[in-house]
């Protein structure tokens, strides 16, 4: 592997995990990307994690919402991390 983007190129047509800004996570099949990391994913599951503070106890309440999208274009500038599926090589 010569450059980091090679890792993404090797993940075409594979399911990938994408960590985005604002505690959003995506899992889906990668069909396209460019040098900005704009992407098209299919069979996407998005998980949004929100933390609220309980007014009385001050405890942090973590809640996760998920939704499914058939085909999704993701703008690269919100992406923090991409992890390909575990490969046996």
């Amino acid at each position: 592997m010569e450059e980091p983007l090679d890792l993404i190129r090797l993940s075409i047509d594979e399911r990938v995990y994408v960590k985005c800004r604002n505690d959003r996570e995506l899992r889906g099949r990668l069909h396209a990307y460019d040098q900005h990391l704009n992407m098209v994913l299919s069979d996407v599951e998005e998980t949004i994690t929100t933390t609220e503070e309980d007014e009385e106890t001050g405890e942090e309440i973590v809640s996760k919402k998920t939704r499914s999208v058939g085909m999704l274009f993701v703008r690269g500038d919100i992406i923090v991390l991409v992890s390909p599926p575990l490969r046996t090589s």
């Binding site: 450059e3 090679d6 890792l7 991390l81 992890s83």
Partner: protein, 97 residues
């Protein structure tokens, strides 16, 4: 070229990145020296990624192996391979294991 410097021929060749004197090492000398080594990558969000630096490019996009994700110092998850988009990177530090 070393052939222009006869003195050099008697010495064992040193590793390129470490041949640069301490006070003249540039940021890219540092990056060359830590390639393939365990590093800690701190993002602007404060999240740390510890793993082996596989490669990086001019945008500071990073590919890492055997990566562990630490949020507030707590291990949150692990990735076999991972790609980090360069704009999120605050710093890369070398790490002893």
């Amino acid at each position: 070229m070393s052939s222009a410097l006869p003195d050099n021929t008697s010495k064992a060749p040193e590793k390129e990145a470490e041949a640069v004197p301490e006070n003249k090492r540039s940021p890219s000398d540092f990056l060359k020296a830590v390639l393939g080594r365990p590093v800690n990558v701190r993002l602007n969000s404060g999240t740390d990624y510890r793993g082996v630096l596989a490669c990086l490019d001019g945008y500071m996009n990073i590919a890492m192996e055997q990566t562990e994700e630490y949020v507030d110092g707590q291990l949150k998850s692990k990735y076999g391979d991972c790609f980090i988009r360069g704009n999120n990177v605050m710093y890369i530090s070398s790490q002893r294991r």
